[in-house]
């Protein structure tokens, strides 16, 4: 895969992208704040949600076993998958047993995380994404760039052009027209499919229910029309009771899209029984894929994330580089924790470093996840080899020694100041000089003052005769 800085360069060079991002994120941010202002006791609700989630995570194994029992009681089949490969194989096996050819999908970042589509296609099956955003992403041969708004990086014109190219329909940039075209195409897919795959927003331990939150209703078709429904759920997605679920739903919709509740909230409780509508078989795949490794550690808090995307929308880094620059399924501030957490820090150490720790994400997170704290933690444990260039490492080590001895520190900074002034000869350095070239790449460097504050202060004391 390309290097982080190349992806950033590409993103920053794309004017279309920055315009699309700016518009969409600011809309989401303002909708969120309006929605929260109408929520009574919001701060309290956030505290409760955080506490309940942390409690579940504390005792995750027990809760998962209870959840499994409840699911089975409802007539669902339960599968466990420790990694992506196992998860993909479970799905493929279920499909092969029933000679499935065509699969419809809805709402699953987890399936992106484990690259399920690629595995299914390789196994000879046809997979169709049915949520509008994901459908467009699939048409483009692309990846989602936001947790809840997968095509936030595209303008209406982009989408119009894509549909015109791939589906041979007349160009339009009217959302209604585009949605209508997609809906018509998808209708037949639903009817033809033998299997539906969805993710899950929450799993309710007590009742064994799977909760799916959507705005388009496609998930309803995916979960009811085909004869088999497979649910992929990360092991961290549990809530204890319906009462808890209710709290999370209030927070999720408001944080994600600024709605009081999303348009559709589906609760799935096992296969359709007798005359009821619903699939004949429901399979729930509980996926670990690195999550249990984060339990109890410095990044455990990130498992409480309900994937609302609010932290992405307020993040000044995300807003400028978009989701694809992060290089993996989860983008933005929380992605900078989850990606190294799940996939390992060695390959992903640039992500935690690419933050100013401005704290906007923490402020907005409905679960009050302390994202900056974990980003710092990741910077601390980054393997020394990749941590920093040798020169930076040496500089910081010297700095620590020097700063620990005031006399030396003063002498050193005074020398540094003189050196910089000498190099600058004027009060500004504007071109690249060693060590400062990454500063002067985008801005000029003001050279140190001729007289330090401490000098001025000492002269003042002398003058005042103190």
């Amino acid at each position: 895969m390309s290097h982080f800085s190349d992806r950033v360069d590409k993103a920053l060079a794309d004017d279309n992208l920055s315009e699309a991002l700016k518009k969409a994120t600011s809309q989401l941010v303002s909708r969120r704040s309006t929605a929260f202002s109408s929520l009574e006791d919001a701060e309290n609700l956030r505290d409760i949600a955080r506490n309940t989630k942390m409690k579940i995570l504390h005792n995750l194994e027990d809760n998962l076993l209870k959840f499994e029992k409840s699911l089975q009681k409802n007539g669902s089949h339960v599968h466990w998958a420790k990694d992506a490969e196992e998860a993909n194989n479970v799905v493929i096996e279920i499909a092969q047993k029933q000679a499935v050819k065509k699969i419809v999908k809805s709402k699953s970042m987890l399936s992106e995380e484990i690259h399920l589509n690629t595995a299914l296609i390789k196994a000879g099956m046809q997979v169709v994404e049915t949520d509008l955003g994901e459908y467009i992403v699939q048409l483009a041969g692309d990846k989602p760039s936001h947790i809840i708004a997968p095509i936030i990086h595209m303008t209406r014109e982009d989408v119009g052009n894509l549909m015109h190219d791939r589906l041979s329909v007349p160009f339009s940039d009217e959302p209604e027209v585009l949605t209508r075209i997609a809906r018509r195409k998808l209708r037949q897919e639903f009817l033809d499919a033998d299997m539906g795959i969805t993710g899950a927003n929450f799993g309710v331990v007590e009742t064994g229910s799977i909760c799916l939150v959507t705005n388009e209703g496609n998930a309803r078709m995916v979960t009811t029309l085909p004869k088999i429904h497979v649910v992929l759920i990360g092991i961290e997605k549990l809530v204890a009771t319906f009462e808890d679920l209710n709290r999370f739903l209030k927070l999720l919709a408001r944080s994600a899209t600024g709605q009081k509740l999303s348009v559709y909230t589906s609760i799935i409780q096992g296969p359709g029984k007798g005359t009821e509508t619903g699939p004949e078989e429901v399979h729930v795949v509980l996926v670990d894929n690195g999550r249990s490794g984060m339990l109890g550690g410095d990044l455990a808090e990130s498992l409480a994330c309900i994937r609302c995307g609010a932290c992405l929308n307020v993040c000044p880094i995300y807003k400028n580089i978009g989701g694809h620059a992060y290089g993996d399924t989860y983008a933005g501030p929380i992605g900078s924790i989850i990606t190294p957490g799940l996939r390992g820090l060695a390959q992903w150490h640039e992500l935690p470093a690419a933050s100013t720790l401005c704290g906007a994400c923490k402020e907005v997170c409905p679960i009050r996840i302390d994202i900056p704290k974990m980003l710092l933690k990741l910077r601390q444990v980054t393997p020394p080899k990749v941590k920093a260039s040798i020169s930076l490492r040496m500089a910081i080590k010297c700095f620590a020694v020097i700063a620990g001895i005031p006399k030396v520190y003063k002498g050193f900074t005074a020398f540094g100041s003189r050196l910089l002034r000498f190099l600058g000869s004027k009060s500004w350095l504007t071109n690249n000089i060693p060590l400062l070239d990454r500063w002067t790449k985008v801005r000029d460097f003001k050279t140190p003052a001729k007289k330090s504050f401490q000098r001025m202060w000492q002269e003042k004391i002398a003058k005042d005769g103190k």
């Binding site: 800085s5 950033v8 360069d9 920053l12 000044p316 880094i317 400028n320 580089i321 470093a353 690419a354 933050s355 100013t356 720790l357 401005c358 704290g359 906007a360 923490k362 402020e363 704290k373 710092l376 990741l378 910077r379 601390q380 444990v381 980054t382 941590k387 920093a388 930076l392 910081i396 080590k397 700095f399 620590a400 020694v401 700063a403 620990g404 001895i405 005031p406 520190y409 900074t413 100041s417 500004w428 504007t430 990454r438 500063w439 790449k441 985008v442 801005r443 000029d444 460097f445 003001k446 140190p448 003052a449 330090s452 504050f453 401490q454 000098r455 001025m456 202060w457 000492q458 003042k460």
Partner: protein, 252 residues
């Protein structure tokens, strides 16, 4: 204003002048001194103070940070009175991050507690401790206030600087787009990720330019040094000023 009776702890204060002010912006330190002395407060400057350690800390160098922080704690512990920090970012480091840094060392933690209880960011000290909102300053300009992130979200200081600015005669404070968005400095971030940092800086600068301001005022020289570098590169006439400089204008 001068008659306001000061709480005991304000009789003598220590100035933690920060590295950037010491080396690059000494006039900001002097402005802080002027203001405090005008209020009848005795200012002391512990000359052995060093960096708060934030650059190393934010880059993940924990052990190195601890060394610097221990030294700093030692120096500050040996002084008395309130410690005034004209920087939200260094303030947050000493007040909040030292606690995390030494969480597992009860002795040092006690020291941190004692020191950090005496620490105040400059505007916070004026408004919350001294109860002063008008320093009698006068400055004819169109100004914009940039709340630096660590001041705003770390120390939760939001209104104090604005109140002080509102009371400056002839200073017209101007609104601009996305004032609370990070300017892209972020300490070492500005060097590690200059491209993203530069884009964030550009956004901030164009929002300031769109509001036709003469100066951008903040409580952190880090953000301001970065913005000033960008403004200079672009040949902009917008100046950067620390809150203390503005509050020290037109009073003599």
């Amino acid at each position: 204003m001068m008659d306001q009776s000061l709480p005991d702890k304000a009789a003598t204060v220590q100035l933690f002048h920060t590295c950037l002010i010491n080396e690059f912006y000494p006039e900001v330190g002097m402005a802080v001194v002027h203001i405090l002395e005008r209020l009848g407060i005795r200012v002391e400057v512990p000359l052995d103070q060093t960096c708060c350690g934030q650059p190393a800390y934010n880059s993940g160098f924990l052990e190195e940070t601890k060394k610097v922080a221990v030294k700093n704690l030692e120096v500050l512990s040996s002084t008395e009175g309130a410690i005034i920090i004209p920087s939200g970012s260094c303030g947050d480091m000493i007040i909040h991050q030292y606690r995390i840094l030494f969480a597992e060392n009860p002795d040092l933690l006690k020291k941190v507690d004692k020191v950090s209880r005496r620490c105040y960011e400059f505007s916070q000290f004026l408004v919350d401790v001294l109860g002063i909102t008008d320093l009698g300053a006068r400055l004819k300009a169109r100004g914009a206030y940039h709340p630096s992130c660590h001041l705003l979200r770390g120390l939760k200081i939001k209104d104090q600087p604005k109140i002080l600015l509102e009371n400056i005669a002839e200073l017209e404070m101007v609104e601009f787009e996305d004032p609370e968005e990070c300017c892209g400095f972020g300490g070492m971030f500005s060097i590690k990720n200059p491209e993203i940092s530069g884009r964030m800086m550009d956004n901030k600068i164009s929002n300031l330019q769109a509001s036709k301001v003469d100066m951008v005022i903040s409580c952190d020289m880090g953000c301001l040094m970065h913005l000033e570098g960008g403004l200079h590169r672009k040949g902009s006439q917008i100046r950067v000023r620390h809150l203390a400089q503005v509050l020290d204008s037109g009073v003599d």
